[in-house]
């Protein structure tokens, strides 16, 4: 049985239970539903809001270097802190935070396998108290651009056989039957997918309890659709968050050498005048 390529990026709920108070460990909850943290969270965990704290709130972009330094500093995180991310819905937005932290070069950031769902289901300790940590100094020292894909790169990748595009949205979004998941705003003008993209919905990487599938199962899932490690893989979804989950799986659990996340995703491509679309 194969093991994960980078098991050091994943911790169990048990590990978090034992290490959540370690001074060099900071647990951070990042939820799709930003109200979940207030219901109760892991003692000592800080909560980050993906809508206001993990993006540029003026122009469409990831968090700026300056704002990331402020966010980490105010969370008591230094460059040497081990950051443990967890969240609701199979760690959907925990992966979004991890993608950004890895782009900004934080060396030790991990995901709690199973996320919030598993912690609750196991009846583990919760609190409503927000922790107060002393201000720390955090300095971003670089930016890994290779983890991110922009429109021009995707346009080139579409016609380059060394690349494979992975559309991780639902099949109904992929085929253009719907423009957005039920209950969410339709933020594109056209439905469908980027020509040539393979459809592997992101949540297929998870078990029912929210944990990641085994390396063997993940390998079978992606290689069966032609998403293989010899290719340059570009993952995308609607706004780049579901695809950051797939980016994590391919990069760290399967160890694919070249994986990037196209965070412009369908809300960019599906609004472009004249862009090629397949259904």
């Amino acid at each position: 049985m194969r093991s994960y390529a980078h098991p050091e990026t994943l911790v169990t709920t048990d590990w978090v239970s034992q290490h959540k108070s370690d001074p060099n460990v900071r647990v951070v909850e990042v939820d799709v539903d930003t109200k979940a943290y207030e219901e109760g969270h892991i003692p000592g965990a800080v909560g980050w809001n993906w809508q206001t704290e993990l993006c540029d709130t003026v122009r469409r972009d990831v968090i700026s270097k300056t704002n990331l330094e402020k966010l980490l500093g105010s969370s008591g995180i230094t460059n040497n802190t081990t950051i443990i991310l967890y969240g609701d819905n199979n760690n959907w937005f925990a992966a979004w935070a991890l993608w950004q932290l890895k782009m900004y070069g934080h060396s030790d950031v991990r995901i709690m396998n199973g996320g919030r769902k598993k912690w609750l289901a196991e009846g583990r300790e919760l609190t409503k108290d927000s922790p107060k940590y002393g201000e720390a100094t955090y300095t971003v020292t670089g930016f890994n651009e290779r983890y991110r894909a922009f429109l021009r790169q995707v346009e080139k990748a579409m016609n380059d056989r060394t690349f494979v595009l992975v559309d991780v949205r639902s099949n109904d979004e992929f085929t253009g039957k719907i423009l957005a998941p039920p209950g969410l705003p339709e933020t594109c003008q056209r439905g469908g997918h980027i020509p040539g993209a393979k459809n592997i919905p992101w949540a297929q990487a998870c078990n029912d309890d929210g944990t990641f599938k085994s390396a063997d199962d993940l390998d079978a899932l992606y290689t069966s659709k032609g998403v293989t490690p010899d290719k340059n893989v570009v993952a995308y979804c609607r706004i780049g968050e579901r695809s950051s989950h797939t980016w994590y799986v391919l990069n760290y659990l399967l160890g694919y050498p070249t994986v990037s996340n196209y965070d412009g995703s369908w809300t960019e491509w599906g609004n472009l005048v004249g862009a090629e679309i397949e259904r």
Partner: protein, 71 residues
């Protein structure tokens, strides 16, 4: 405190598969409804009983899906 009596079930609401999670924290019951794919939250509610929390959540979902009746 801890989450107690954690339950999750799948239901079709207005023709859309939804995951309905409910549990008790302290003396309150919480309910969270998200679509199965991709898992976007449609309602998060609380109540004095599990049934009250779930009913409130289902009502919110119905309103959000344009007044279609859930179930």
């Amino acid at each position: 405190m801890r989450a107690e009596q954690y339950q999750t079930e799948q239901r079709d609401l207005a023709g859309i598969p939804m995951r309905v999670e409910s549990y008790k924290i302290g003396d309150r019951y919480y309910c969270h409804v998200a679509n199965v794919d991709p898992g976007a939250t449609l309602a998060r509610t609380e109540g004095g009983t599990r049934a009250a929390a779930i009913d409130a959540a289902l009502l919110k979902v119905a309103n959000r899906l344009g007044g279609k009746s859930p179930g």
